[in-house]
Symmetry: C2
């Protein structure tokens, strides 16, 4: 339990921010004029541009930087593939139904909400006050919650402790355990008090039918990963059979959430960016690990959570790998790269932690998993998962299809070893055993190396070589030689392991906005989205001082010059005051404003205003465009330096 | 019926091209190791990059150039929305079933194939030879066709003519008419000769269920358009209530095709880029039409097709609009812009035509529609549709939801007109008619202006004012004044019309490849994809002469410099000969090759080789990168000029 804050450390009022985001069309409920569908949102122009900039940064940071192979696979997926991958059986949440009203609850969320409400009621009963701002904020959240009312009832100390420990590991319970918690703590439908049926599994995939004859059932993919796995052999060949390599994919995935809530954080259709890094299970070191080893991450490992605590440890990733907290270098490398990506976007590193999954919480395919979580007004939000899926997926698909998804490695130095061979004279064996010959041969094949050595020793000592064959009893191998030979192998076959960093773009999108949002100290109603210039939907707002016709050719010249330089810009020639127009663009997070005034007409200079400090410079169009271009590409000087260089311009009264 | 050709005018062997595209992972059947699902394809790394470059060009050419508002709406769409839009009832193809075998055929395709096969059989029977290459090619196509065998049977001249005319308007038949054709021409299951059931409508949307309780049926969107329409009012507000404006969206759509074929051309999941240009129905002129009016397009209008012909007319778009062949300037503007976009990608303008839809062929929402079609080995392929959807969609959604999707325009000069008012004294009317008063009032309201004028004249002449009220008969209006008054209106309300250019990215992708593919004259087995540098998946292949360690730091320097300049590059340090490595990259369509050799180590120069002419220059890394950057950004000099400037380099023997 925490208090959400803005970029400048003030209490964050989520209601106000939400209104801003919808008014400025960052996102908007889908099908709103039809009453909307919960868990579905559309992105308007600034949201769409922000999303594109996040994806573009991701592509440069991961795909281009590490030469990954991007693929685009279909969302429609036949039943058989997802049956094999385990999703048909295991990709599910637990839901319980109030049999009287028909209402459906997601079991873990219900237990969590009810216990949290009781703990709060206990605090009230014991007269413990929480900060006012927090209370306000909770009131707003309550509207979306199932539990509408907090009852001030004191709890026993033991009960309180039990609740707190249960909540710390709420993600670790299966359906049976959740059912037991519901019975034990007498959890009912919060609205009616009605009894709940025991939790049943609800598969989260959207199902459909492919083709006209309804005989090919399918689903919308729940992740982009399966398409990448199925293409593994082709990608390996495309990569000239070299290992390791990574594929990557950016695209929509779907989850039929039981009861979507929390805005963009829990939706039914979402953009994912996923990497599948295929690696030799014997070589999980990473050639570029040294570049990141000193990066400090805030970690919350599984043991701490299982002990019922949530204390973070700050550690260099190099040390975390050395100490075995993070399993291997490749996993550690990606955790650090994820940290660098998120902070490049503008995420506050103080509101970023890496949390390890507990055993029962982990997806069915994972052997280890760390989530990058961002702190928001909804609490810690899982934004990136980084799982070691081991050889799980490639193995099950190979087994099902008979198509080997494996690597054949030519060994530079062949593996050499010695082995006992049992050579029986076939010409003797055939006539001797007739139809049982095959059975005898199989029995011989199955003799272990240790037993072969014993037989060889006996033979050398002059004894008969006797073996026991099922159905024949003990038989003598008369014409046999048992010899030790040197063997060599030139090819090694293995199924790669997969390290999978998986990014929920919509969750990053929303959490980032909470991290960079603030209000002007001089006007608390004036919200600002302080996107870094690289990420901002629009880079420059161009405002003519008035509707004077003399400004028009200048506006056109500036627009053209900026477009050519690849700078997304927008003209606001509405009749609103310049101050109002800048306020509107604060809300859109536009980092720069250009004004065209009468001096422009005289000497061709324009003013450039920076969003956060609101200081202006004045220079030629060419100089201003060069300054902005450097800022947008992320290689410009700090703004103070620029103001120093050009001199602050204060001549024009804008506000 | 035509012969497909390569970029250099040779016969195009589709089988060979297909193998190339799959080998180089441009695309590959989805779920292939599970046997595949027809109509689903994945894009591998070069396909993914090519697709991204096409989309990027589209975004610059349309969205940025014309300041369109890009949105990203969900694919999941509730039933009610698509019921209103007409898709639930009308978005369907006609299918007929062989009741014996259960086989399902798409009715129009079956009629088309059978009649074409009979015409071919007729030609054979009459001893008319077709070109050999064509025959070869048809043999290949046959594998995917339902009609496997051509029977040499001579047809009556009248029958032949009827078949030909039927085929020219095959897209214009509805289910009943197709059923009649099947009966009339005795069309049966080509494999078994079995009878077919009459065509029934098959809806092409994939259906699913949203939420856990299965009470919200939904579909995967068949187009991105509906999301844009539903957001209309928000977008209008975001645009400061200014008209006209356009929204745009890039995303996947879905069609559950009855029997997908023709590779990427008829698939079940596909990327679309759609523009919805909202315009005042009274102002369909376009401010930038003058910029494009002299562009010549090859047109095939509906009248020509209905006459059973397919003759193209080449016309300036300005003249086509003037003559009313193309309905209005905005529609014409977009046709010209589509032409510019496609040719910018590398489409051959000689293999591009604009075909107008015939009445029955048109989608249920369209009032006029032109397709940009590209000529390929599959015939003319619809790649872009440009429809005037009029006010259809906004009107039906307004009607269904009660939320007005309209524009309110403040009129600078109010509309002024005169009108006769019938003012009845309410105090007299209430007591006089009691419960019938409302009915009388409604009757008065309904009197036309012309009749009011007559009544006024009668009253002026001293006559009584008599009206006939249903159920009351003729009654006198005793206390009434009929006066002419001046009226003014300051606000105009209207539902915008929508012009919709809609791009099938996958179809453009494939058709473009056929247009730019050729084989080297010196080696017919060596395929080249001659992508323009801007569109090519990878821009530069970097090859070290050998595995010599001295080359490594140079390779790294070149890679780093190019990445910084935003040039997608790939190193091939495999042990294959340089010639082989270049051949591999011909197939990937990489326009430039850089070689690092021993001279590089000495003086820092590298060679740059252009794909199509295979001529090389030699210069410093900085100069080479500058040359490539200009080419990739589309503002470089012609390659011959560059060779002239730097001098052709022939010192190194590569092949």
């Amino acid at each position: 339990i925490h208090m959400a804050t803005t970029k400048t450390g003030q209490p964050l009022d989520r209601g106000t921010l939400d209104i801003l985001l919808r008014r400025r069309l960052f996102y908007t409920p889908s099908f709103e004029i039809y009453g909307g569908v919960s868990g579905l949102y559309d992105y308007g122009p600034p949201g769409c541009a922000l999303q594109a900039n996040i994806v573009d940064t991701w592509r440069k940071h991961f795909v281009l930087e590490e030469d990954m192979m991007e693929v685009d696979c279909t969302m429609l997926t036949p039943h058989e593939v997802l049956k094999t991958s385990g999703h048909v059986d295991k990709f599910a949440d637990w839901m319980c139904k109030d049999s009287k009203t028909g209402e459906i609850f997601r079991a873990d969320h219900l237990v969590e909400e009810v216990l949290e409400a009781r703990l709060k009621g206990d605090k009230q009963a014991r007269g413990i006050k929480e900060e006012e701002d927090k209370e306000d904020e909770d009131d707003k959240k309550k509207k979306k919650k199932k539990v509408k009312e907090i009852k001030a009832i004191k709890l026993d100390d033991a009960v309180r402790l039990e609740y707190e420990e249960t909540l710390a590991k709420i993600d670790n319970y299966d359906g049976k355990e959740l059912g037991e918690l519901i019975v034990k703590h007498n959890i009912t439908n919060p609205a009616t008090g009605g009894a709940l049926e025991p939790p049943v599994s609800f598969n989260l995939m959207f199902s459909t039918s492919i083709g006209p004859s309804a005989n090919l059932p399918g689903y919308l993919r729940p992740e982009t990963a399966q398409g990448q796995f199925l293409t593994f052999s082709k990608l390996l060949e495309f990569n000239n059979a070299k290992m390791p390599f990574a594929s990557a994919s950016i695209g929509k995935s779907f989850r039929n959430e039981i009861s979507p809530k929390s805005g963009l954080l829990r939706v039914r259709e979402f953009l994912m960016a996923e990497i599948e890094h295929f690696v030799d299970p014997q070589k999980k070191s990473h050639p570029r690990f040294a570049e990141v080893k000193d990066i400090e991450l805030r970690l919350l490992d599984k043991d701490v959570q299982l002990s019922g605590k949530t204390i973070l440890t700050t550690k260099k990733i190099g040390d975390a790998v050395k100490e075995g907290i993070v399993d291997n270098e490749t996993l550690g490398y990606f955790l650090a790269r994820i940290f660098l990506f998120l902070t490049e976007l503008g995420v506050d590193p103080e509101k970023l932690r890496f949390r390890q999954h507990m055993a029962n919480e982990m997806a069915h395919y994972a052997t280890d998993c760390w989530d990058a979580e961002l702190l928001t007004s909804y609490g810690w939000v899982e934004c990136v998962g980084c799982a070691d899926r081991s050889a799980y997926d490639l193995t099950v698909h190979t087994k099902k299809t008979g198509q080997p998804l494996i690597v054949r490695e030519n060994l530079e130095n062949p593996v050499v070893w010695e082995e006992w061979d049992v050579d029986v004279d076939k010409k003797w064996m055939g006539p001797r055993f007739r139809k049982d010959a095959k059975k005898v041969e199989e029995t011989i094949e199955a003799i272990s190396q240790a037993d072969r050595e014993i037989l060889a020793a006996k033979q050398a000592a002059g004894e008969k070589v006797m073996i026991t064959v099922e159905g024949l009893g003990e038989v003598e191998l008369e014409k046999v030689e048992i010899v030790k030979r040197q063997k060599q192998q030139y090819i090694r076959e293995y199924t790669p392991n997969v390290i999978e960093p998986s990014f929920g773009i919509g969750r990053i999108f929303y959490s980032l906005i909470e991290h960079i949002y603030y209000t002007r100290p001089e006007d608390a109603t004036r919200g600002v989205l302080a996107f870094p210039p690289k990420i901002a939907p629009t880079k420059v707002l161009i405002v003519p001082l008035s509707g004077n016709a003399e400004f028009v050719p200048w506006i056109e010249k500036i627009t053209r010059t900026m477009r050519k330089a690849g700078i997304a810009n927008r003209v606001d020639d509405s009749s609103a005051s310049i101050g109002k127009r800048y306020a509107r663009n604060d809300e859109l997070g536009t980092p720069f404003g250009v004004t065209v005034d009468f001096q422009t007409v005289k000497d061709g200079t324009i003013t450039l205003r920076e969003r956060d400090g609101m200081k202006q410079i004045r220079a030629s169009i060419e100089d201003i465009v060069a300054v902005v271009k450097a800022q947008v590409e992320g290689n410009g000087e700090p703004w103070e330096k620029i103001v120093e260089k050009f001199g602050e311009f204060t001549g024009q009264d804008l506000e």
